[in-house]
Symmetry: C2
Subunit: 639 residues, 2 copies
């Protein structure tokens, strides 16, 4: 075994490695969490480390490496002798950082107005009820057990009929009854068969309980903590999905899940490293104990749902693409079963999936977008790592999904990042090809998020720096574009000297490729979905755009690059994280939970991979804006 000394920003450690062992694997075994969206395939170039002692054997795979200054990619390096390796801070997974939304004024538009509109259309019913019971105290002559006594009062006082209680609650009951002189608050929900399930028993003055609604995205996790009595959102937050280090997209996650204890690692990553820390942060912010959270609602794509539940996902990617479950079935999951740090008995409401690649995030999104309540055709486009599109009206709904990759969320982009503080969210190029930046939080730029990428690619194209294929035009001379040893061009968005930042922020031709493939996947999927029904973009009354791409998408630029169709701009609405909003609706209103189930069962799924003409559409859309320029007249008019 060979010694590998690892210098981390805060500490140094030495571990043992076998000769020939992959360096990324050595680091992972040592518990060093790197940001590796390509999961060690040698393609994303994110696992850079600095070699300060010894030499490694390089085995090149995937794309050409862009490393310099003594740095190398851990994933293509193999240990042959003792090493000293330094891990730069930017190589470490930043996913642990949780952003809390502190501006609760935004909650009105994001949650309450949607909730009110939904209630007006579909009615209202709570999942969770609470009541205070004064039990008859036991005596030698009336020596019913505690459980029996409580159930008797539920029947007599509340007319609950048959009620079920968990062992866990039975364990707690004797104490709660006696600490409160047999006067207690019961929190319960009604099962589909009409029986009552006790969720909690507590002091009579205690708050009836809280709920958490979550959106588990492939790249990001977002959640809100809800007071179930008032249905108000007390706090909202988001963080990276810690599964990202095992692969950037659902396909890489599935592949990882099927190797060794990969499935367990992925479930642990999303539950223990993402959802639970996020919930704890929300609880801390509001002064609430995890045990007081008695209801959990989650919307996620089908792969994320499988991984959250610890279910083998491999059959999702193999024809005929069958999920183990879609959550429309009669399966009751409780918080304890998936390791959530909330009340063990809390029911888990799973937003139901339609198919392998159209998940609960989309059924939740359809509810939040009110797609099924109008007679006119509308479309919902969810710009996630898994791009999902729904076309529908009050009569029908049809959906498809495409693999956009993580580019919209800054993944697999050299200097990409999530839409968080420091992200470049808007770009304008002047006549000297110099970029003028809009940075989230007004700070020094740290990277580029999705909306910034839309602007940047549109501006590079508008100014003629790149051609329709996304290649830099060598006939234009500017010091803003430089070429590496392999003649791959890169545009310097923010020079380190100019902004006093550790390194240049740039965009390479490979990044542009990744981004163009993402936008092409979404645009072509939208076209195919429409044409499969003999429709055109002009037949649409509304286009609702959802996703974590950033809050300030420049619509003109999005059309100019060919992401969205060139139609009346007034038809577009940006509705933000519709999956989280739908998850919230399901949490506070059982009618919404039922509506999601009904939606999933009624939605038709179009499998793009077997649809004739989809590949042609995709190839045509892999240009900026498109091979068919007549589809984008306004872009042509301006450029």
């Amino acid at each position: 075994m060979l010694d590998v000394t690892i210098n981390l920003p805060e500490r140094t450690m030495t571990v043992k490695a076998a000769a020939g062992e992959n360096l990324l694997q050595v680091l992972r075994t040592a518990g060093v969490k790197l940001d590796t969206p390509c999961n060690g395939n040698g393609t994303c170039g994110k696992c850079r480390v600095k070699l300060d002692g010894g030499r490694v054997e390089k085995r090149h795979r995937g794309r050409r490496e862009e490393v310099s200054g003594g740095e190398l990619l851990a994933c293509t390096s193999y240990v042959t002798e003792p090493l000293v390796v330094t891990i730069p801070r930017e190589t470490l997974l930043a996913g642990g950082s949780i952003s809390l939304e502190r501006d609760s004024s935004a909650f009105e538009g994001r949650y309450y107005s949607v909730k009110k509109a939904f209630e007006a259309l579909h009615g209202k019913e709570s999942h969770v009820q609470a009541a205070v019971l004064k039990l008859v105290e036991p005596t030698l002559d009336d020596n019913l057990s505690d459980v029996d006594r409580l159930l008797r009062h539920l029947r007599v006082d509340l007319g609950c009929g048959e009620a079920v209680i968990s062992l866990d609650l039975a364990r707690k009951l004797p104490h709660v009854l006696r600490e409160n002189d047999f006067q207690v608050a019961v929190v319960y929900s009604r099962l589909p068969d009409g029986r009552v399930r006790l969720l909690d028993v507590k002091a009579p003055e205690a708050h009836p309980g809280y709920g958490v609604a979550v959106d588990v995205g492939t790249t990001s996790v977002a959640a809100c903590l809800v007071d179930l009595a008032t249905e108000k959102v007390l706090a909202e937050g988001s963080c990276a999905n810690a599964q990202s280090r095992y692969g950037a997209d659902v396909i890489n996650r599935i592949i990882f899940a099927t190797k060794g204890d990969g499935l367990q690692l992925l479930q642990d990553a999303v539950v223990k490293e993402s959802i639970n820390p996020l919930i704890k942060e929300l609880c801390l912010h509001c002064g609430i104990a995890g045990d007081e959270i008695v209801l959990f609602s989650v919307a996620a794509n089908t792969v994320m749902t499988h991984l959250l539940l610890g279910i083998w996902p491999d059959f999702l990617r193999k024809e005929p693409y069958i999920p183990a479950l879609t959550a429309t079935e009669n399966i009751a999951v409780t918080a304890a079963e998936i390791g959530l740090c909330i009340n063990k008995n809390a029911p888990v409401l799973l937003a139901p999936s339609v198919a392998s690649y159209v998940g609960g995030d989309i059924t939740a999104g359809v509810a939040a977008a009110f797609l099924r309540e109008t007679e006119q055709n509308s479309i919902l486009i969810d710009l996630g790592t898994n791009g999902e599109i729904v076309l529908g009206n009050s009569e029908f709904a049809m959906t498809c999904a495409c693999s956009a990759g993580p580019a919209f969320e800054g993944g697999e982009i050299s200097c990409g990042m999530r839409a968080a503080a420091g992200a470049i969210e808007g770009v304008v190029l002047d006549d000297t090809y110099t970029a003028h930046l809009k940075v989230i939080g007004g700070r020094k730029p740290a990277g580029i998020c999705g909306s910034g990428l839309i602007d940047l690619v549109a501006e590079l194209k508008r100014t003629g720096l790149i051609d329709a294929r996304g290649r830099f035009r060598k006939d234009i001379k500017t010091d803003k574009v430089v070429y590496d040893a392999y003649s791959v061009g890169r545009y310097i968005v923010a020079a380190k000297e100019q902004y006093d930042i550790p390194a240049d922020i740039y965009l390479t031709e490979i990044d542009i490729d990744n981004f163009v493939r993402a936008k092409a996947a979404v645009y072509s999927a939208t076209c195919v979905l429409l044409s499969s029904l003999g429709l055109d973009f002009d037949d649409l009354a509304e286009i609702k755009v959802a996703g974590g791409i950033g809050n300030h998408i420049n619509l003109t630029n999005a059309v100019r690059i060919g992401l969205f169709p060139d139609i009346n701009p007034d038809k577009f609405t940006f509705i933000g994280n519709s999956s989280l909003t739908g998850s919230y609706l399901s949490l506070v209103n059982k009618k919404a939970t039922d509506f999601l189930k009904e939606t999933a069962q009624q939605m038709t799924y179009l499998e793009l991979s077997v649809y004739p003409g989809y590949m042609d559409e995709f190839v045509s859309a892999s240009f900026i804006p498109h091979t068919d320029r007549t589809r984008f007249p306004s872009a042509a008019a301006r450029s």
Copy 2:
């Protein structure tokens, strides 16, 4: 901190102890498992260790210590300087040893004849059904989820109506379906509300499953492994209840449970150290995997049931003596929730309790004893650590419980042991006061079990060596009785020279006291139960005696010492471990499970501690045979 070196039979270790720390505590912390039925109260004299270095401080408590030859009791010793302690093998808890019943011919009488008689009287219904389903294989056009597909076939092919499936089974389903080309065996049970709960999905040719019936006694645990297809007992075994080291009787267990993490330690002891090893041994013997066990039935007294479920038991011993649950309620417990090493989904059938000190072992026993099926009055006496008595006929059943202590199972007796190989199960004294022994397995004697104690005390009394108070008569000169420094007499049952055994086997006056208190508790409770209904022993058609006291009770001697009433011997039947037999009935027949519940609900409980006259009865019965000799005319005639 002071070094304490511990010499064990197989190894030596050194641990740290604080000055003034109790030596028993030091040993427990070090993981040394001692047999301490009195839980360190200084009364049982079982925690003998040999001091090979250093001195301890002695703090006497409880009874006078009987230690010699450099030995001392760990529980009354305190560390004041570095020590070297040697633990004799006999001081170590022998509970780990599991005895398997290899004589399956006994199963006919113990299980099958009882099962047939029960079925003839009450009918028959299985808890678990199995069927083979050939599922339609999924295609791109028929892409129902695996769970949905299975539930559809359950509805259509088996008419199951609404079925529920656990997350755990959903995790397994995709693999099982594809490994078996979508033809699988389903194992399911019907919930009280008529819905079907899936228990297992497996290869079509796989055995439908097995069940385990258990009796958890305060001192011993017994179990049988059952083939659910044939309902035959494949193997039977027993072991000590590992909780014994924390206290010999239910009161000591409750007290221990309420201190620190005592409850968890007790639950772990019975599940991880007693039941699970026993099940593993049974599985190993039969070549069956734990996962194939899909049903679990347990009969135990109320305190044992609480501890098995991890429920705080303290309110059981405080007026008004209220159980947290009696298992008559609507509470569904699965194997995983209590940590059993069988199929996670396996339902746990809990024999229901009547009251704090009349448990499921008694409702199970009533079923196995057919007490409620006859018009004549009969009585069931269960000679356990917790002595339980039921009086009843087809019209009513009344029950009470008394604390007999572990003497019937050899506990709190200097040379006592369970009825296992090496136990003296029968004794006759000749004219020279020499004991002639009957030893289980025909081996060298190792100790005395319950039936041996009955004989021994009866013979000591018959030969006049002891008086009615259980004291040795000093006017009789014999070298078989010796006195210690405190003038406490002991009778040498088996001298070490005579039998070539490591130490004498003897019975002290203190042992006789303990045993007489046990028999007095049972006899007086039986009397009070009868007189509370204005009945006499002569009104009884049958007396059924159950318990782990040994298979060969000498009825004449049991009457002679005043344990059983002096009535027509033909009225007595010894039915062995009726709790285990009842647990087996419940496992194989849902009608029996229902019968137990009905029995628990209909049984009237008599709380002895508040019954006037009980203490007088107990005091009168604390003589051999009784203060009122007219009650035992045959004993008087013979002696």
